[in-house]
Amino acid sequence: MIFAFSENIETALELLAKGREIADSLKSELAAISIERHGKEESYIAYGADTVYSIDSEPQADLVVDCIFSLTNQNKPEILLIGGTKLGREVAPRIAQRFGVGCATDCIDLSIEQEQLIVKRFVLGGRFIATQRFLHKPRIVTIPPRRFEKKLDTNRNGEIIENTLKVAKSRVLVLEIKDKTSQALKIEEADIIVSVGRGLKKKEDLNLVESLAKILGGALGCSRSVAADLKWLPEEHWVGLSGHKVKPKLYIAVGISGQAQHIAGIRDAKTIIAINNDPNAPIFKACDYGIVGDLYEIVPELVATLKA
Protein backbone atom coordinates (compact mmCIF):
# COMPACT_ATOMS: atom_id res chain seq x y z
CA MET A 1 0.00 0.00 0.00
CA ILE A 2 0.98 3.61 -0.55
CA PHE A 3 -0.08 6.42 1.75
CA ALA A 4 -0.51 10.03 0.72
CA PHE A 5 -1.01 12.87 3.14
CA SER A 6 -1.14 16.62 2.99
CA GLU A 7 -3.13 18.97 5.17
CA ASN A 8 -3.36 21.18 2.09
CA ILE A 9 -6.12 19.67 -0.02
CA GLU A 10 -4.74 20.82 -3.39
CA THR A 11 -1.34 19.35 -2.53
CA ALA A 12 -3.00 16.14 -1.40
CA LEU A 13 -4.68 15.82 -4.81
CA GLU A 14 -1.34 16.34 -6.55
CA LEU A 15 0.26 13.63 -4.40
CA LEU A 16 -2.59 11.31 -5.30
CA ALA A 17 -1.88 11.74 -9.02
CA LYS A 18 1.74 10.72 -8.54
CA GLY A 19 0.75 8.11 -5.97
CA ARG A 20 -1.69 6.56 -8.44
CA GLU A 21 1.08 6.17 -11.01
CA ILE A 22 3.38 4.52 -8.51
CA ALA A 23 0.66 2.30 -7.09
CA ASP A 24 -0.25 1.11 -10.60
CA SER A 25 3.32 0.32 -11.51
CA LEU A 26 3.80 -1.61 -8.24
CA LYS A 27 0.32 -3.16 -8.51
CA SER A 28 -0.37 -1.74 -5.12
CA GLU A 29 -3.14 0.28 -3.50
CA LEU A 30 -3.26 3.97 -2.75
CA ALA A 31 -4.72 5.35 0.44
CA ALA A 32 -5.20 9.01 1.29
CA ILE A 33 -5.00 10.16 4.87
CA SER A 34 -7.19 13.03 5.95
CA ILE A 35 -6.46 14.28 9.44
CA GLU A 36 -9.22 16.84 9.55
CA ARG A 37 -12.89 16.35 8.64
CA HIS A 38 -13.15 18.91 5.85
CA GLY A 39 -15.83 17.21 3.78
CA LYS A 40 -13.57 16.83 0.73
CA GLU A 41 -12.71 13.20 1.44
CA GLU A 42 -14.86 12.01 -1.49
CA SER A 43 -12.76 14.00 -3.93
CA TYR A 44 -9.65 12.09 -2.84
CA ILE A 45 -11.17 9.02 -4.45
CA ALA A 46 -12.01 10.80 -7.68
CA TYR A 47 -8.41 12.04 -7.79
CA GLY A 48 -6.86 8.61 -7.38
CA ALA A 49 -7.24 7.11 -3.91
CA ASP A 50 -8.60 3.59 -3.38
CA THR A 51 -9.17 4.24 0.30
CA VAL A 52 -9.44 7.33 2.44
CA TYR A 53 -8.61 7.14 6.12
CA SER A 54 -10.57 9.93 7.61
CA ILE A 55 -9.47 10.97 11.06
CA ASP A 56 -11.13 13.61 13.14
CA SER A 57 -8.10 15.42 14.48
CA GLU A 58 -6.22 18.61 13.77
CA PRO A 59 -3.32 19.35 11.45
CA GLN A 60 -0.92 20.00 14.34
CA ALA A 61 2.49 18.40 13.98
CA ASP A 62 2.43 16.28 17.17
CA LEU A 63 -1.01 14.91 16.31
CA VAL A 64 -0.20 14.31 12.66
CA VAL A 65 2.95 12.39 13.59
CA ASP A 66 0.94 10.23 15.97
CA CYS A 67 -1.88 9.59 13.50
CA ILE A 68 0.34 8.67 10.56
CA PHE A 69 2.61 6.58 12.78
CA SER A 70 -0.34 4.54 14.07
CA LEU A 71 -1.94 4.12 10.65
CA THR A 72 1.40 3.06 9.20
CA ASN A 73 1.82 0.51 11.97
CA GLN A 74 -1.64 -0.88 11.29
CA ASN A 75 -1.44 -1.01 7.50
CA LYS A 76 2.28 -1.39 6.78
CA PRO A 77 2.42 0.80 3.64
CA GLU A 78 5.65 0.56 1.69
CA ILE A 79 5.69 4.21 0.71
CA LEU A 80 4.52 7.38 2.45
CA LEU A 81 4.07 10.44 0.24
CA ILE A 82 3.80 13.60 2.31
CA GLY A 83 3.11 17.08 0.96
CA GLY A 84 6.19 19.27 1.38
CA THR A 85 4.44 22.10 3.13
CA LYS A 86 6.06 23.45 6.27
CA LEU A 87 3.99 21.04 8.33
CA GLY A 88 4.82 18.15 6.01
CA ARG A 89 8.52 18.88 6.15
CA GLU A 90 8.39 18.68 9.94
CA VAL A 91 6.27 15.56 10.32
CA ALA A 92 7.88 13.41 7.60
CA PRO A 93 11.34 13.25 9.22
CA ARG A 94 9.77 12.79 12.65
CA ILE A 95 7.77 9.79 11.47
CA ALA A 96 10.89 8.48 9.74
CA GLN A 97 12.90 8.84 12.95
CA ARG A 98 10.24 6.98 14.88
CA PHE A 99 10.53 4.08 12.48
CA GLY A 100 14.32 4.40 12.30
CA VAL A 101 14.20 4.83 8.52
CA GLY A 102 15.33 7.33 5.91
CA CYS A 103 13.36 10.17 4.43
CA ALA A 104 13.93 12.30 1.33
CA THR A 105 12.48 15.80 1.48
CA ASP A 106 11.43 18.07 -1.40
CA CYS A 107 11.68 15.40 -4.07
CA ILE A 108 11.27 16.80 -7.55
CA ASP A 109 10.98 13.42 -9.22
CA LEU A 110 9.94 9.90 -8.19
CA SER A 111 10.18 6.77 -10.25
CA ILE A 112 10.02 3.05 -9.84
CA GLU A 113 12.97 1.11 -11.19
CA GLN A 114 12.99 -2.64 -10.63
CA GLU A 115 10.37 -2.26 -7.92
CA GLN A 116 12.64 0.24 -6.15
CA LEU A 117 11.56 3.79 -5.43
CA ILE A 118 14.14 6.18 -6.85
CA VAL A 119 13.91 9.87 -5.95
CA LYS A 120 15.68 13.00 -7.09
CA ARG A 121 16.25 16.16 -5.09
CA PHE A 122 18.29 19.36 -5.32
CA VAL A 123 21.47 19.49 -3.24
CA LEU A 124 24.53 21.72 -2.85
CA GLY A 125 22.66 24.98 -3.12
CA GLY A 126 20.42 23.89 -5.97
CA ARG A 127 23.19 23.39 -8.52
CA PHE A 128 23.18 19.61 -8.34
CA ILE A 129 20.63 16.83 -8.30
CA ALA A 130 21.07 13.81 -6.06
CA THR A 131 19.49 10.49 -7.01
CA GLN A 132 18.66 8.40 -3.98
CA ARG A 133 17.13 5.12 -2.95
CA PHE A 134 15.87 3.86 0.38
CA LEU A 135 17.41 1.18 2.54
CA HIS A 136 14.32 0.32 4.59
CA LYS A 137 10.54 0.44 4.56
CA PRO A 138 8.47 2.47 4.86
CA ARG A 139 10.05 4.79 2.34
CA ILE A 140 9.14 8.33 3.25
CA VAL A 141 9.26 11.27 0.85
CA THR A 142 7.97 14.80 0.80
CA ILE A 143 6.92 16.41 -2.46
CA PRO A 144 6.68 20.18 -2.78
CA PRO A 145 3.29 21.72 -3.57
CA ARG A 146 2.49 22.15 -7.28
CA ARG A 147 5.13 19.68 -8.39
CA PHE A 148 2.69 17.33 -10.10
CA GLU A 149 -0.64 17.89 -11.86
CA LYS A 150 -3.72 16.52 -10.15
CA LYS A 151 -5.80 14.10 -12.25
CA LEU A 152 -9.56 13.77 -12.00
CA ASP A 153 -11.31 10.51 -12.89
CA THR A 154 -14.99 10.59 -11.93
CA ASN A 155 -15.40 6.89 -12.71
CA ARG A 156 -13.24 5.80 -9.84
CA ASN A 157 -14.70 4.40 -6.69
CA GLY A 158 -13.26 3.68 -3.32
CA GLU A 159 -13.95 3.51 0.34
CA ILE A 160 -13.87 6.07 3.11
CA ILE A 161 -12.89 4.59 6.43
CA GLU A 162 -13.60 6.72 9.45
CA ASN A 163 -10.86 5.99 11.85
CA THR A 164 -10.94 6.74 15.54
CA LEU A 165 -7.36 6.86 16.65
CA LYS A 166 -6.27 7.66 20.16
CA VAL A 167 -3.64 10.31 19.86
CA ALA A 168 -1.66 11.98 22.61
CA LYS A 169 -2.14 15.67 23.27
CA SER A 170 0.10 18.12 21.44
CA ARG A 171 3.00 19.32 23.53
CA VAL A 172 3.10 22.50 21.51
CA LEU A 173 0.46 24.98 22.48
CA VAL A 174 -0.63 27.57 19.92
CA LEU A 175 -1.21 30.94 21.55
CA GLU A 176 -1.94 33.21 18.64
CA ILE A 177 -2.24 33.22 14.87
CA LYS A 178 -1.37 36.28 12.84
CA ASP A 179 -2.37 36.08 9.21
CA LYS A 180 0.15 37.42 6.77
CA THR A 181 -1.38 40.41 5.06
CA SER A 182 -1.21 39.76 1.35
CA GLN A 183 -1.64 36.19 0.25
CA ALA A 184 -3.54 36.88 -2.92
CA LEU A 185 -0.49 36.37 -5.12
CA LYS A 186 0.09 32.83 -6.30
CA ILE A 187 3.28 33.43 -8.18
CA GLU A 188 3.59 29.74 -9.07
CA GLU A 189 0.58 30.11 -11.30
CA ALA A 190 1.74 33.18 -13.20
CA ASP A 191 2.42 32.84 -16.92
CA ILE A 192 4.67 35.85 -17.01
CA ILE A 193 6.89 37.00 -14.15
CA VAL A 194 9.02 40.11 -13.96
CA SER A 195 11.42 39.70 -11.07
CA VAL A 196 13.60 42.27 -9.42
CA GLY A 197 16.83 42.00 -7.46
CA ARG A 198 19.33 44.09 -5.63
CA GLY A 199 20.10 46.00 -8.79
CA LEU A 200 17.21 48.20 -7.72
CA LYS A 201 18.53 51.11 -5.71
CA LYS A 202 15.53 51.97 -3.57
CA LYS A 203 12.12 50.70 -2.67
CA GLU A 204 10.33 53.56 -4.44
CA ASP A 205 11.79 52.32 -7.74
CA LEU A 206 9.75 49.14 -7.49
CA ASN A 207 7.02 50.86 -9.51
CA LEU A 208 9.39 50.86 -12.46
CA VAL A 209 9.51 47.09 -12.52
CA GLU A 210 5.87 46.86 -11.55
CA SER A 211 4.90 48.87 -14.60
CA LEU A 212 6.72 46.36 -16.80
CA ALA A 213 4.95 43.47 -15.09
CA LYS A 214 1.66 45.25 -15.51
CA ILE A 215 1.97 45.99 -19.19
CA LEU A 216 2.84 42.34 -19.79
CA GLY A 217 -0.03 41.17 -17.63
CA GLY A 218 2.46 39.38 -15.42
CA ALA A 219 3.24 38.99 -11.74
CA LEU A 220 6.00 40.72 -9.81
CA GLY A 221 8.70 38.46 -8.39
CA CYS A 222 11.95 39.13 -6.56
CA SER A 223 15.20 37.65 -5.29
CA ARG A 224 15.76 36.71 -1.69
CA SER A 225 17.71 39.92 -1.09
CA VAL A 226 14.66 42.00 -1.94
CA ALA A 227 12.22 39.94 0.15
CA ALA A 228 14.30 38.76 3.09
CA ASP A 229 17.10 41.28 3.53
CA LEU A 230 15.60 44.53 2.29
CA LYS A 231 11.99 43.48 3.00
CA TRP A 232 10.75 45.59 0.11
CA LEU A 233 8.30 42.91 -0.99
CA PRO A 234 6.46 40.24 1.01
CA GLU A 235 7.51 36.60 0.79
CA GLU A 236 4.83 35.71 -1.77
CA HIS A 237 7.04 37.38 -4.38
CA TRP A 238 10.24 35.57 -3.39
CA VAL A 239 11.53 33.22 -6.07
CA GLY A 240 14.20 30.58 -5.61
CA LEU A 241 15.39 27.57 -3.71
CA SER A 242 14.05 28.81 -0.40
CA GLY A 243 11.30 30.87 -1.98
CA HIS A 244 8.76 29.90 -4.61
CA LYS A 245 9.57 27.62 -7.50
CA VAL A 246 7.92 29.00 -10.60
CA LYS A 247 7.28 27.80 -14.12
CA PRO A 248 6.11 30.74 -16.25
CA LYS A 249 6.25 30.97 -20.01
CA LEU A 250 8.39 34.06 -19.64
CA TYR A 251 10.61 35.10 -16.74
CA ILE A 252 12.34 38.47 -16.85
CA ALA A 253 15.12 38.93 -14.27
CA VAL A 254 15.84 42.59 -13.66
CA GLY A 255 18.98 43.44 -11.67
CA ILE A 256 19.32 39.89 -10.40
CA SER A 257 22.82 38.39 -10.36
CA GLY A 258 21.63 34.82 -10.95
CA GLN A 259 23.10 32.92 -8.01
CA ALA A 260 22.42 29.18 -8.03
CA GLN A 261 19.77 29.50 -5.32
CA HIS A 262 17.79 31.94 -7.40
CA ILE A 263 18.14 29.86 -10.57
CA ALA A 264 16.90 26.79 -8.67
CA GLY A 265 13.50 28.46 -8.54
CA ILE A 266 13.21 29.24 -12.26
CA ARG A 267 14.52 26.07 -13.90
CA ASP A 268 11.12 25.23 -15.28
CA ALA A 269 10.60 28.63 -16.90
CA LYS A 270 10.20 28.32 -20.66
CA THR A 271 12.09 31.48 -21.55
CA ILE A 272 14.35 33.54 -19.30
CA ILE A 273 15.35 37.10 -20.16
CA ALA A 274 17.94 38.96 -18.10
CA ILE A 275 18.58 42.66 -17.70
CA ASN A 276 21.82 43.39 -15.85
CA ASN A 277 24.58 45.99 -16.12
CA ASP A 278 27.37 43.54 -15.34
CA PRO A 279 28.31 41.52 -18.44
CA ASN A 280 29.90 38.91 -16.16
CA ALA A 281 26.81 38.37 -14.01
CA PRO A 282 26.07 34.63 -13.79
CA ILE A 283 22.49 35.27 -14.94
CA PHE A 284 23.80 35.65 -18.49
CA LYS A 285 24.87 32.00 -18.38
CA ALA A 286 21.42 30.95 -17.22
CA CYS A 287 19.17 32.91 -19.55
CA ASP A 288 17.88 32.61 -23.09
CA TYR A 289 18.17 36.30 -23.89
CA GLY A 290 20.15 38.91 -22.05
CA ILE A 291 20.79 42.59 -22.37
CA VAL A 292 23.73 44.32 -20.71
CA GLY A 293 22.81 47.72 -19.39
CA ASP A 294 21.34 49.91 -16.70
CA LEU A 295 17.87 48.77 -15.68
CA TYR A 296 16.97 52.40 -15.03
CA GLU A 297 17.39 53.08 -18.76
CA ILE A 298 16.22 49.78 -20.16
CA VAL A 299 13.04 49.15 -18.19
CA PRO A 300 11.33 52.52 -18.83
CA GLU A 301 12.26 52.42 -22.49
CA LEU A 302 11.04 48.85 -22.83
CA VAL A 303 7.74 49.83 -21.21
CA ALA A 304 7.43 52.77 -23.60
CA THR A 305 8.16 50.55 -26.61
CA LEU A 306 5.66 47.93 -25.48
CA LYS A 307 3.02 50.60 -24.97
CA ALA A 308 3.51 51.95 -28.48
Binding site: A61, D62, T85, K86, L87, R89, E90, V91, A92, P93, R94, A96, Q97, R98, G100, G102, C103, T105, D106, V123, L124, G125, G126, R127, F128, T131, Q132, R133, F134, L135, R171, V172, L173, V174, L175, E176, I177, K178, D179, K180, L216, A228, K249, L250, Q259, A260, K270, I273, F284, K285, C287, D288, Y289, I291, V292, I298, E301, L302, T305, L306
Partner: protein, 237 residues
Protein backbone atom coordinates in the same frame (compact mmCIF):
# COMPACT_ATOMS: atom_id res chain seq x y z
CA UNK B 1 19.79 29.92 33.84
CA UNK B 2 19.35 28.08 30.59
CA UNK B 3 21.78 25.47 29.35
CA UNK B 4 21.68 25.38 25.59
CA UNK B 5 23.09 23.08 22.95
CA UNK B 6 23.35 24.44 19.44
CA UNK B 7 23.80 21.95 16.59
CA UNK B 8 26.09 23.20 13.89
CA UNK B 9 26.99 21.71 10.56
CA UNK B 10 30.09 22.65 8.70
CA UNK B 11 29.59 22.68 4.95
CA UNK B 12 31.53 23.41 1.80
CA UNK B 13 31.47 26.97 0.56
CA UNK B 14 29.00 26.06 -2.17
CA UNK B 15 29.98 28.86 -4.53
CA UNK B 16 33.47 27.37 -4.81
CA UNK B 17 32.36 23.93 -5.91
CA UNK B 18 33.27 23.21 -9.53
CA UNK B 19 31.80 20.65 -11.86
CA UNK B 20 33.82 17.85 -13.40
CA UNK B 21 33.42 18.33 -17.14
CA UNK B 22 32.96 14.68 -18.03
CA UNK B 23 31.25 13.09 -15.02
CA UNK B 24 29.25 16.24 -14.09
CA UNK B 25 30.04 15.41 -10.47
CA UNK B 26 30.87 18.13 -7.94
CA UNK B 27 34.56 18.67 -7.25
CA UNK B 28 34.99 19.37 -3.56
CA UNK B 29 38.75 18.88 -3.21
CA UNK B 30 40.36 22.03 -1.91
CA UNK B 31 37.03 23.80 -1.40
CA UNK B 32 36.91 25.91 1.78
CA UNK B 33 34.41 25.05 4.50
CA UNK B 34 32.20 27.25 6.59
CA UNK B 35 29.43 27.06 9.16
CA UNK B 36 26.06 26.55 7.44
CA UNK B 37 24.31 29.92 7.25
CA UNK B 38 21.26 29.32 9.44
CA UNK B 39 23.38 27.59 12.10
CA UNK B 40 25.08 30.92 12.68
CA UNK B 41 21.65 32.39 13.34
CA UNK B 42 20.97 29.52 15.74
CA UNK B 43 24.25 30.16 17.55
CA UNK B 44 23.62 33.91 17.67
CA UNK B 45 20.21 33.27 19.22
CA UNK B 46 21.67 31.02 21.92
CA UNK B 47 24.16 33.75 22.80
CA UNK B 48 21.36 36.30 23.14
CA UNK B 49 19.41 33.95 25.41
CA UNK B 50 22.50 33.38 27.52
CA UNK B 51 23.13 37.11 27.79
CA UNK B 52 19.60 37.55 29.10
CA UNK B 53 19.13 34.52 31.29
CA UNK B 54 22.60 33.21 32.08
CA UNK B 55 23.61 29.60 31.57
CA UNK B 56 25.90 27.91 29.10
CA UNK B 57 26.13 27.45 25.37
CA UNK B 58 27.62 24.27 24.00
CA UNK B 59 28.22 23.99 20.26
CA UNK B 60 27.84 20.46 18.95
CA UNK B 61 29.49 20.49 15.57
CA UNK B 62 29.59 18.08 12.69
CA UNK B 63 32.86 19.38 11.33
CA UNK B 64 36.41 20.39 12.04
CA UNK B 65 38.29 22.47 14.62
CA UNK B 66 38.01 25.49 12.30
CA UNK B 67 34.25 25.55 12.71
CA UNK B 68 34.62 25.02 16.46
CA UNK B 69 36.99 27.96 16.71
CA UNK B 70 34.57 30.17 14.88
CA UNK B 71 31.69 29.14 17.17
CA UNK B 72 33.83 29.64 20.27
CA UNK B 73 34.98 33.05 19.03
CA UNK B 74 31.38 34.10 18.50
CA UNK B 75 30.73 33.23 22.15
CA UNK B 76 29.98 29.54 22.70
CA UNK B 77 31.42 28.36 26.01
CA UNK B 78 32.44 24.95 24.82
CA UNK B 79 32.51 22.95 21.61
CA UNK B 80 32.26 19.26 20.79
CA UNK B 81 33.24 18.19 17.30
CA UNK B 82 32.77 14.94 15.44
CA UNK B 83 32.67 13.90 11.86
CA UNK B 84 30.66 11.22 10.14
CA UNK B 85 29.59 10.63 6.59
CA UNK B 86 25.93 9.75 6.87
CA UNK B 87 22.38 10.89 6.09
CA UNK B 88 19.73 12.61 8.21
CA UNK B 89 18.80 9.40 10.04
CA UNK B 90 22.45 8.79 10.89
CA UNK B 91 23.06 12.40 11.93
CA UNK B 92 20.04 12.53 14.22
CA UNK B 93 21.02 9.20 15.74
CA UNK B 94 24.56 10.39 16.47
CA UNK B 95 23.44 13.77 17.83
CA UNK B 96 20.80 12.13 20.04
CA UNK B 97 23.35 9.70 21.48
CA UNK B 98 25.77 12.48 22.31
CA UNK B 99 23.10 14.78 23.74
CA UNK B 100 21.47 12.08 25.86
CA UNK B 101 24.55 12.11 28.07
CA UNK B 102 24.40 15.87 28.54
CA UNK B 103 22.41 18.24 30.70
CA UNK B 104 20.38 20.74 28.69
CA UNK B 105 17.25 22.86 28.75
CA UNK B 106 17.11 23.88 25.14
CA UNK B 107 18.48 22.73 21.79
CA UNK B 108 18.72 24.96 18.73
CA UNK B 109 19.17 23.92 15.12
CA UNK B 110 18.98 25.75 11.83
CA UNK B 111 15.71 25.12 9.96
CA UNK B 112 17.82 23.52 7.23
CA UNK B 113 21.44 23.15 6.27
CA UNK B 114 22.39 25.11 3.20
CA UNK B 115 23.96 22.17 1.33
CA UNK B 116 21.40 19.42 1.98
CA UNK B 117 18.46 21.73 2.54
CA UNK B 118 16.58 18.79 3.99
CA UNK B 119 14.89 20.38 7.04
CA UNK B 120 15.19 17.01 8.75
CA UNK B 121 17.73 17.03 11.52
CA UNK B 122 15.98 19.27 14.06
CA UNK B 123 12.61 17.48 13.99
CA UNK B 124 14.30 14.08 13.94
CA UNK B 125 16.54 14.93 16.88
CA UNK B 126 13.60 16.15 18.97
CA UNK B 127 11.73 12.98 18.11
CA UNK B 128 14.72 10.83 19.06
CA UNK B 129 15.10 12.65 22.39
CA UNK B 130 11.37 12.65 23.05
CA UNK B 131 11.16 16.41 23.53
CA UNK B 132 8.80 18.94 21.92
CA UNK B 133 9.92 20.74 18.77
CA UNK B 134 9.04 24.20 17.50
CA UNK B 135 10.05 24.69 13.88
CA UNK B 136 10.67 27.78 11.69
CA UNK B 137 11.12 30.25 14.55
CA UNK B 138 11.58 33.88 13.53
CA UNK B 139 11.43 35.15 17.13
CA UNK B 140 11.90 33.39 20.42
CA UNK B 141 11.97 33.98 24.15
CA UNK B 142 12.30 31.99 27.35
CA UNK B 143 9.82 32.56 30.14
CA UNK B 144 8.94 30.52 33.24
CA UNK B 145 10.57 27.32 32.05
CA UNK B 146 8.85 27.57 28.69
CA UNK B 147 9.99 28.60 25.25
CA UNK B 148 7.70 30.83 23.23
CA UNK B 149 8.35 31.27 19.53
CA UNK B 150 6.84 32.98 16.56
CA UNK B 151 6.80 30.47 13.72
CA UNK B 152 6.91 31.60 10.11
CA UNK B 153 4.39 29.43 8.25
CA UNK B 154 3.05 29.71 4.69
CA UNK B 155 0.17 32.09 5.17
CA UNK B 156 0.46 32.99 8.82
CA UNK B 157 2.72 33.54 11.77
CA UNK B 158 1.95 31.26 14.66
CA UNK B 159 2.90 32.09 18.23
CA UNK B 160 3.37 28.82 20.08
CA UNK B 161 4.98 27.55 23.24
CA UNK B 162 6.34 24.38 24.77
CA UNK B 163 7.84 23.32 28.10
CA UNK B 164 11.58 22.99 28.42
CA UNK B 165 13.50 20.94 27.53
CA UNK B 166 12.56 21.59 23.93
CA UNK B 167 14.15 21.95 20.51
CA UNK B 168 13.71 24.99 18.29
CA UNK B 169 14.69 25.35 14.63
CA UNK B 170 15.37 28.91 13.53
CA UNK B 171 15.03 30.80 10.26
CA UNK B 172 17.51 33.29 8.85
CA UNK B 173 15.31 36.25 9.75
CA UNK B 174 15.54 35.65 13.51
CA UNK B 175 18.70 37.74 13.93
CA UNK B 176 21.90 39.05 12.39
CA UNK B 177 24.82 36.89 13.56
CA UNK B 178 27.64 38.81 15.25
CA UNK B 179 31.15 38.98 13.86
CA UNK B 180 33.73 38.11 16.52
CA UNK B 181 36.42 40.62 17.45
CA UNK B 182 40.09 39.81 17.14
CA UNK B 183 40.28 39.47 20.93
CA UNK B 184 37.45 36.94 20.88
CA UNK B 185 39.11 35.03 18.08
CA UNK B 186 42.33 34.83 20.10
CA UNK B 187 40.39 33.90 23.26
CA UNK B 188 38.66 31.04 21.48
CA UNK B 189 41.73 28.82 21.65
CA UNK B 190 41.55 28.85 25.46
CA UNK B 191 38.03 27.42 25.53
CA UNK B 192 37.19 23.76 25.91
CA UNK B 193 37.14 21.81 22.67
CA UNK B 194 36.45 18.08 22.70
CA UNK B 195 36.74 15.80 19.71
CA UNK B 196 34.75 12.61 19.74
CA UNK B 197 34.46 9.75 17.26
CA UNK B 198 31.03 8.14 17.36
CA UNK B 199 30.46 4.73 15.80
CA UNK B 200 29.16 4.86 12.24
CA UNK B 201 25.37 4.85 12.45
CA UNK B 202 22.92 3.21 10.11
CA UNK B 203 21.77 5.32 7.16
CA UNK B 204 18.26 5.40 5.77
CA UNK B 205 18.93 6.49 2.21
CA UNK B 206 21.70 5.75 -0.21
CA UNK B 207 22.80 8.41 -2.66
CA UNK B 208 23.36 6.81 -6.04
CA UNK B 209 24.68 9.87 -7.83
CA UNK B 210 25.09 13.63 -7.59
CA UNK B 211 25.26 15.44 -10.90
CA UNK B 212 25.29 19.06 -11.99
CA UNK B 213 22.11 20.35 -13.50
CA UNK B 214 22.58 20.93 -17.18
CA UNK B 215 21.66 24.38 -18.32
CA UNK B 216 20.08 24.33 -21.68
CA UNK B 217 19.50 28.01 -22.28
CA UNK B 218 20.16 29.94 -25.44
CA UNK B 219 22.39 32.61 -23.85
CA UNK B 220 21.79 35.12 -26.67
CA UNK B 221 23.02 38.64 -25.91
CA UNK B 222 20.72 41.28 -27.38
CA UNK B 223 22.12 44.44 -28.91
CA UNK B 224 19.48 46.99 -28.02
CA UNK B 225 16.10 47.65 -26.49
CA UNK B 226 14.36 47.27 -29.85
CA UNK B 227 15.59 43.68 -30.06
CA UNK B 228 14.64 43.17 -26.43
CA UNK B 229 11.12 44.40 -27.05
CA UNK B 230 10.79 42.08 -30.04
CA UNK B 231 11.89 39.08 -27.99
CA UNK B 232 9.58 40.01 -25.11
CA UNK B 233 6.60 40.29 -27.46
CA UNK B 234 7.29 37.00 -29.21
CA UNK B 235 8.03 35.05 -26.01
CA UNK B 236 5.09 36.29 -24.00
CA UNK B 237 2.51 34.65 -26.19
Amino acid sequence: MVDIIVCIKQIFDLGQIKVDATSKRPITEGVARKISDFDKNALEETLRIKEKHGGTVLALIGGTKEAAKEALAMGADEAVIYSADTDSLGTATILAEIIQKMKYDLILCGEASVDEFSFQTGPRLAQALGIPVLTYARKMEIKDNEVIVERNLETRYEVAKARLPALVTVTKEINEPRIPTLLQILGASKKKLTEISPAKPESGVETLSITAIEMKRKEVILKDIKELARVVISEKS
